[in-house]
């Protein structure tokens, strides 16, 4: 007689063994080192750090290796590790004016204090496959270097602010909540929203931001400024009574200048969107700032037109890819019991219907 499926334990062991083999691939091909991933797949490492909410390039590279290049799986590994770490407190807000700039562009002004710095960007490359990379080559020749500029670089928004052309930056309210330590409660304030967007899925936010450009809640964004570089992280030590620098992180900051508002009593002003993401993550920072602006409709007295990117609850509830992929994929797990209940119900409904028809 057939006995209900047994042997889950051995099946798991065998599956894990096969997975380990598949991860390694052909053993005749040299193994990838974590250093290689960190140095040569930097943008993947950045994404895993950003959405994993943990700035650690080595661990992110390890996670990518372990996840066989599946970035959401790697993000998940980092989150599961991060959640076990103690939280000591919040750093001082990073001062991006004092950023050690690698890239800084403004789409609103041709030239401005601090200048336009293209930096390492794909923007003006021709997307032609470089077959030379397929052959193992020498390191490329060193890029020309300019003198470092030690001066702080002022924000474009500050320049607009001085003239009263843009709404004043809304002040935060004390210590921001920590999404990883307190349940998300709605409505969320802007700081918490930005936190959720920063660790949200890049693809989801890209599409949401894109939808606002195509008329689903238009916000007419100009990139006031996009800057990428290293910033110092300072932590206030109660014992010392002052803040000390505990390290530096690379971030991408995007500030958008958006369609203005005004009324009979208040003259027109531009409005702001903001995005800050770990590492060089331009697409993500841009998307966050567009979605941020779109979600601010209530503060700015705009109409809710039913656009998905205006809907805080919709956006925040679905932006997290670790949550989304988990729930999506869990339908692979057995559902015998519930399905049996449905089978029993549908058979009964059908048989009742048939009997009814026969009786007629």
């Amino acid at each position: 007689m057939y006995v209900a499926v047994k042997g889950g334990e051995r099946a798991i062991e065998n599956a894990h063994a096969w997975l380990a083999e598949a991860r390694r691939g052909d053993p005749a091909v040299p193994e990838l080192s974590v250093d290689q991933i960190r140095e040569q797949l930097t943008l993947a490492v950045n994404r895993v750090m950003a959405e994993g909410s943990l700035f650690d390039p080595d661990l992110a590279a390890l996670a990518i290796k372990q996840a066989r290049g599946d970035l959401i799986e790697a993000i998940f590994l980092i989150r599961a590790y991060r959640t076990t770490l103690p939280r000591f407190g919040a750093s001082l807000p990073v001062d991006t004016t004092r950023m050690e700039i690698a890239r800084r562009v403004s789409a609103t002004f041709k030239d401005l204090p601090g200048g336009q710095v293209l930096g390492p960007t794909f923007d003006y490359t021709h997307r032609l496959l470089d077959f030379a990379l397929a052959a193992e080559g020498e390191a490329p020749p060193a890029a020309p270097q300019a003198e470092a500029q030690p001066d702080a670089v002022p924000h474009v928004m500050g320049l607009l602010d001085k003239d009263g052309l843009i709404e004043p930056a809304p002040m935060g309210t004390g210590d921001p909540a920590d999404l990883t330590r307190a349940p998300l409660e709605l409505p969320a304030d802007r700081a918490l929203r930005l936190q959720a967007l920063t660790r949200g899925d890049e693809g989801f936010l890209l599409s949401l931001a894109y939808s606002t450009q195509r008329g689903y809640g238009r916000t007419h964004a100009f990139v006031g400024e996009l800057r990428i570089g290293r910033v110092a992280v300072e932590f206030d030590l109660a014992e010392l009574g002052f803040a000390v620098e505990i390290g530096a992180i690379e971030v991408t900051e995007c500030e958008t200048v958006n369609q203005f508002k005004g009324s009979a009593s208040e003259p027109a002003q531009f409005t702001r969107g903001y995005g800050l993401v770990f590492g060089q993550s331009e697409r993500k920072a841009l998307a966050v700032s567009l979605v941020d602006r779109s979600l601010r409709w209530k503060d700015l007295g705009e109409d809710f037109v039913g656009a998905p990117a205006q809907d805080e609850e919709f956006v925040l509830a679905h932006a997290d890819n670790v949550q989304a992929t988990g729930f999506l994929e869990h339908i692979k797990l057995p559902h015998y019991v519930d399905f049996q209940a449905e089978l029993e119900l549908i058979r009964r409904l059908r048989s009742e219907a048939m009997q009814g028809r026969a009786a007629e």
């Binding site: 209900a4 076990t84 609850e313 988990g326 797990l333 519930d338 209940a341 029993e344």
Partner: protein, 286 residues
């Protein structure tokens, strides 16, 4: 992952304290969904992260843990979660319902009656019973606050109008202690009567949705229905092909591609217990 690197039962003590506070609140307000700061766990959302966190917060070294999925100890996810706690807490495990102090379950309540010494932890995918009637959390929380459950009754009524019966076979909504409408997690409605007056503490954890709720021991739990369409805890009308039980919930197993099928107990421990008893009785008689 070793015991040296991670705390007992994986979560750090601060997190456990936070979860225990949520559990206490849940017990104090039966059926009410308490928000809690759910952590990322090393298994995916949808695999039982809420249940795992509740179990981790409940476990003490003296506990004896049983983990089931679809009623069975041997399903892959049950094996995986049991192993996780073996590795991170070192507590004893068992497959016997009666021997366990903590039971984590997905989709079933064991057939064997539970006792006051036991905690049953449910894995919950969507804790909000009103979610598929109203997608907004802000709105459903308001509905619970105002005890505004009209929409649910309309839904059940529409079922009857369309199908002649309430067409919900699992995750069948209940009302706890006459106040909160609660999702009992996707257990078949066959299991619903076991929720009421149960001597064990029933805890529900939803990780992705960040909610914990509870049915304290001996609580009154009523499956929603109408006077002229009373709730019926139904199951398929067969006996178990292994132990012959007629009163236990059955899984359907397809045996060939010619329409052959048998029905077996979904609760593997219950089935084994009955089979062993029968063998014992036969041996005693011989």
């Amino acid at each position: 992952m070793t015991k040296d690197v991670y705390n007992f039962a994986y979560l750090d003590e601060d997190t456990k304290r936070m979860i225990r506070r949520a559990i206490l609140k849940a017990v104090a307000i039966p059926g009410y969904q308490v928000p809690f700061a759910s952590r990322e766990m090393p298994m995916p959302y949808g695999w039982g992260t809420g249940g795992v966190q509740v179990t981790a917060a409940c476990l003490v070294p003296e506990d004896r843990l049983k983990v089931i999925d679809q009623g069975a100890d041997d399903t892959t996810n049950a094996v995986s979660i049991r192993r996780f706690f073996q590795r991170t807490s070192g507590v004893a495990t068992t497959e016997r319902t009666t021997e366990a102090t903590v039971i984590q379950t997905r989709h079933r309540i064991p057939e064997e009656p539970l006792s006051e010494e036991q905690i049953l932890v449910f894995q919950v995918p969507i804790p909000e019973p009103l979610r598929f009637l109203e997608p907004r959390e802000t709105e459903t929380r308001r509905m619970h606050e105002l005890e505004d459950y009209g929409l649910m009754h309309v839904k059940l009524y529409e079922d009857i109008a369309r199908h002649g019966t309430i067409a919900t076979s699992y995750a069948y909504p209940v009302k706890v202690e006459g106040r909160y409408v609660m999702d009992p997690s996707p257990i078949p409605k066959f299991d619903n009567p076991k929720l009421s007056g149960n001597p064990a503490l029933l805890l529900f954890g939803a990780g992705r949705e960040q909610r914990i709720y509870a049915v304290p021991p001996y609580s009154d739990v009523v499956s929603l229905d109408f006077e002229d369409h009373p709730f019926v805890a139904s199951k398929t009308d067969h006996a178990c092909a292994i132990c012959g039980a007629t009163g236990s919930y059955l899984d359907e197993v397809i045996t060939d591609d010619l329409g052959g099928r048998v029905f077996v107990c979904s609760d593997t421990d219950y089935c084994r217990g009955r089979t062993e008893q029968e063998i014992g009785a036969v041996e005693a008689a011989e």
